[in-house]
Every structure is written in structure tokens, then in C-alpha cells.
Amino acid sequence: MNRALAAELFKLRTTRTSWGVTLGALGLVLVISLGAALAGDFSPGDEPGIDLLEISGLVQIFALVLGILVVATEFRHGTITPSLLAIPNRLRLVNAKLIASTLAGAALGLVATALCAAIVLSLLSSRGIETGARSGDVAELVIGNAAASALFAAIGVGVGALLRNQVGAIIGALGWLFLVEPLLTLIPGFNDVISKWFPSGVASATAGTAESPDALDQLPAGLVLAGYAAVFVAAGLAVIRRRDVSA
């Protein structure tokens, strides 16, 4: 394996923060899935299996934060200096971070969705509720959410490189998703555009959990999300290549 990538994967697994984010995401999926599958009040014909799998979509946000951390933490603690001394080519360093984050995001999405599916489908069956989930649909959801999480992690790398300030990047990214996008939907006539084309909506569509009938199909949505990731990463890289690293 490439040295730079090996180092990035090693860094990811040697801090509590990245484990905290990962296990926090999985724990949340676990608790919510259990709660919903055990306590949900379903009428006959609801076939809630697929709907409940949407719960696993929440890990996309955690993947985004993980991607931001992979870059911004190095600036926060000044470890970017020794990292760049070992790998002076900034393109190569960011590229390794991008691949490591994307792999971590994909793994998180995969595990979270599989976990959610196992809990929800087995508990609903044991309660005698018709899940309505065909295995093909479930597989599409697992793959879709893994892809959406991987791409959100990639966007995180771009945002982290662009801003370099850890707190600012996380607040900015979450603020955009939870505050700015919802507020923009209040502008009359914009609602459809935003839910179809802006990052949150595109990520849901990629995962296959978008509610709007207007939403993109999984594959085109994934391509649009990859486009967002490419733009953020390219912008972040342009900034990182020129910046003086003085702390």
C-alpha cells in the first residue's frame, strides 16, 4: 500500500476522536433503530421496513465530520508540519487524506446501514409485521448509503482543506445542512430546487431514502454528489497548495 495512505489510515485509527465519531454514529443508529422497530406503532399494510432504514442516513453527517477532522485536526494541533515534512507534496498528502476519509466514510455507511437493516427487519419480522422490504431494495440502500457517506466524507476533506479551522469547518458544514438549507426552502418556489439539487437532498437521493417523488435516482444523484465533492476538494487543494504552513 502507498505510504501516505497507510499513514493516514493509521492516524485515523489512533485517536479517540475518530473512534468517538464512528462509534457515536453507530450507537445512535443502533438506539434509534431498536426504538423504532420495537416501539413503532404500525397499521397493517404500512410495510415500514424500507422507511425505517432511512434512520441509517444519519451517519452521512458523521462521515462529513470525520472528513473535516482528517484535514482540520492537523492544522489545529500543528501536526500538519511533521506530516508535510514526511510528504512535502501537498497534492499527494491531500490525496491520501481523501482516499482514507472516503474509505472510512464508506465503511461507516456500510456498517450503519447493515446494522440498521439487521435490527429493523429481524425485529419487525419477530413482531409479525410485514416489512415490505425485498432484499434487492435493501442491498440498494446499503450500497447507496455507503456511497453517500463516502462522498460526504470527501466533501468534508474539501471543506477542511478550504477552511483549515476545525471548529469553523464543522460549524460551517453543519450550519449549512441544518440551518441554511432549511431556511432557503422557505423562499417560495425554491423548495423543489433545493430538495432536489442541494447537498442534503442529493445525499438522501444517493442513499435511496429521498422522500420527494421528484428526487433524482440513486446513480445520477451519486454523480451529482461526487461533483460536489470534486468541487470542494479542488477548492481546498488550491488553497492548501499556496498557503504558508507556519504553525
Binding site: A6, A7, T15, H77, L84
Partner: protein, 301 residues
Amino acid sequence: MAPAVVVSGLTKRFGSTLAVEDLSFTVEAGRIVGFLGPNGAGKTTTLRILLGLVGATSGTATVEGRRYSALDDPVHTVGALLDGGMLHPGRSGRNHLRALARASGVSNARADELLELVALSDAADRRAGGYSLGMRQRLGLAAALLGDPRVLVLDEPANGLDPQGIRWLRDFLRSLAAEGRAVLVSSHVLAEVSQTADDVVVINRGRSVAQATLAELTARSGGGLRVAGPDAVRLGEQLRADGADVVGAGDRAILVRDRTGEDIGHVIAQGGVVISELAPAGSSLEEIFFELTGDASGGPS
């Protein structure tokens, strides 16, 4: 082969401030060069430019003839310790070093060996957030040595070290230079490098104010020896007759510039003169440093 380090016409401007101005110096293999100047003189900026972390406004800084970013195997060519923490507080010292080892194709065994060398083996598995400044410096030094580099660039390495640590560092740098490695070591305290460095480069406000061997710089003090006592003036005449450079310093004291204490002792014994004092005079190395850097006020740093 190109010299270990060549800094040539280096200038760095941050907005309207000139951090480094037209700086040039060379570090040859096997030599220890003390890079001196008060805090804020531009030492760290210069070293960061040399290491490819900061871009120069103009001029060049090369290692073995190439820019740092163009080196094939940077960690095996240059080892660097820069000022500052530069540790993830949640990662253990051992894992910090191993991450860098992986990035540079160095084995874990080498990383562990270096932890032993800098006496960090016992603390290596603790989270680095709890390390003292001295422990951080030692870990940074271990990181600098990972690739067994031919050139070492150390920014204020003595910071946070206790007196034994400083002494150890001094001997260690000497042994590295004796193996033919080039060492560029910065400090804002002349005394720290005065027993280690072969050459010194003194900068102030980004400009070079002196470059010399340490011996030359010491000689430049012009100090000489001060002799005082009832027969001092008579002794001065005898020495002057012998061709020495002697100046009067009051009615009972003289200043002899080009004779050793022992030379003067012989003349005293032969001439049967009586003196009460024979001591080095003039400015100490530290005073020359302040003179050169115009920092005589010497505020706290």
C-alpha cells in the same frame, strides 16, 4: 556534491513586514552552524522556507542542491525539529512516531529504537497531551532522526530541556557532526550554541548581521586582558617594548590585547612587578550578540 544547505538571497514578506531580507548562508557537511537571533528575527521563517512549508517571496533555499519539495526521499535526507507542540493530544507518542514512520517508509522497530534513544520509552504509550515541553521536544527530536538523515535542521531544540537534557543534546549534536552530518541549529540564546557550533550566522530583523566561525566571533570581542595593580603601568611599558598592543586604563590598570595570560605572567615573573588583578576584559560573547542584534535592553522573551 552541493553543500548540505544553501540559502541564497532569501526574502520573505508577510504583508507589509519583511520577515527575512536578502539572507544568504551555507552549511557544509560535518559542521554545526548556530543560527542565532532574538525572537522574531526571522529564524523560524527561514527554516520553514528551507523545509518547503512557507513560500519565499524571492531567493532560494536548498538542501543538497534541491528544494525540499523536490527531494526524492526527504525524511532520509533532512531531519527537522520545528518550534511548537505539533502533537495530537489524543494520540500516544509511540503512535505519533509510527504514523510518521509509515509515511516515510521507516519501520516500527526504528521508531521504538529512537524512543529508547530519547528516553521516552516509558511514556511512549501515554497520550501526548500530557507530555511536558521537554518530552515533546525529545519526541520531536526522535521524529527528526527517523530517516537517519544527512542534514539536521533544529529550531530551538533546547527549549524545555533540563540542564542534563541540554548537555546530552550538545554531545549528541557533536557526535552527529562527527559522523559527517550537517547540523543547522537555531537559538535565541548564544550560550546554548557557544559550546557546540563551529560556525554562527547571526540575524536581526531578517537580515544577516554576522557570519563567522565561533572562534572568529569570539576574537572579535577585542576583549584582551585587564591587568591592574601598583606596577601595572610599568608592566605595560615592558610589554609595549616587547611589541604588545597595550592601552592604558587609568593610573593603576592596563589593557593588553594580543598576549595570553600566561605570556603576561612570564613578564611579571621576570620583571618582578607587583599586580593585584589579571582578568579577561571587554565584552563577553553574549555582549557581542546584543551589540550585533541591537537588543541590549534584553527584555524578557
